[in-house]
């Protein structure tokens, strides 16, 4: 099974970039518009799930290996914890928004709100990588059980 028909492949190769860009937009503008790290991360994961459904598993595996995926997952979690601990170091309280206290930005700017966009990026990375990882693993598991039967 090497993916689906040529129609699905063509459409998927056009749409995947748009979905990925939309996910990045949702993450980056999470502190200004509705959305945020979790929703954007799921959209990023769904773009890769679309690729996986259309082109087959090996194609995605070349693009985003399992080892890199779990590293991205850990990196996101580590970044989020690091932001919290930096708040403890610089602001004195765990999770305090130290950047906003020391150098406040103008409201409604893209670079404003201190640590909130950074946390959004960390959570988006974490959620996207981990959801794609678990869907990928579940799909391999599914084929294996059906082959045994």
């Amino acid at each position: 099974m090497k993916g689906m028909t040529i129609i699905v492949k063509t459409i998927a190769s056009w749409v995947k970039v748009l979905i990925f860009l939309f996910g990045i937009y949702i993450i980056l503008f999470g502190h200004l518009t509705p959305g945020g790290g979790f929703a954007g991360g799921v959209i990023l994961a769904s773009s890769y799930v679309l690729l996986m459904l259309a082109f087959g598993r090996e194609f995605v595996q070349k693009d985003l290996p399992l080892a890199l995926d779990s590293k991205l997952d850990c990196l996101g979690a580590f970044m989020f914890a690091l932001i919290a601990i930096l708040g403890l170091v610089f602001g004195g309280i765990f999770f305090v928004n130290f950047l906003q206290k020391h150098l406040p930005g103008r409201p409604l700017d893209l670079i404003s709100a201190g640590t909130i966009p950074l946390s959004n990026i960390a959570i988006g990375l974490k959620v996207g990588a981990s959801l794609f990882l678990v869907i990928f693993l579940l799909s391999t598991f599914r084929r294996d059980t059906s082959a045994n039967r």
């Binding site: 945020g36 919290a84 930005g105 640590t115 579940l138 391999t140």
Partner: protein, 182 residues
Amino acid sequence: MSIFYILLLFMIIAAIIAVETKNLLSSVICIGALGFGASLMFLFLRAPDIAITQIVVEVLGLIILIRATISRDLTFITGDKEFFGTVVSVVIIFVIFLVGVKVFETLPDFGTAIFAETRGAASKTYISEGLAETGAANIVASVILDFRAYDTLGEATVLFTSIIGATVILRKKAKKLLEDPD
């Protein structure tokens, strides 16, 4: 206001069909309809953040469920219901219904914010001070990542732990399968 009741009716019918149908695939599709109804409901209640998250997670979960159900030989669930089990479940549902009527009497009207009727609610402070304290124009982001960041940390920890568990169980099989694809 009537749109809410139409949506509620739609969601309840979808939920009943999802439980009662014999076909696994139609049950999954009904769960999808239920999720999209919930997403529309959040949108009409002016909670676009939740609506986006709900619809995105619903799409991804539906894909996984349909992949899982299509691959198996569709099992048609059969079997007669026992009389004793039916009586017990009806009694339990009736008790929950009575308690629920009592509880819902204390809630504010459907669609009104709860902080409008509670004095000294914390959400009032979030709304009035959120922009000045955190600088984030989206109040929801300022709540989940600044005021209540501990909740987000807990959620991220739960996700991380569950993904680690799934990876540990499934990784060996996946690696073996990727090395020699059939």
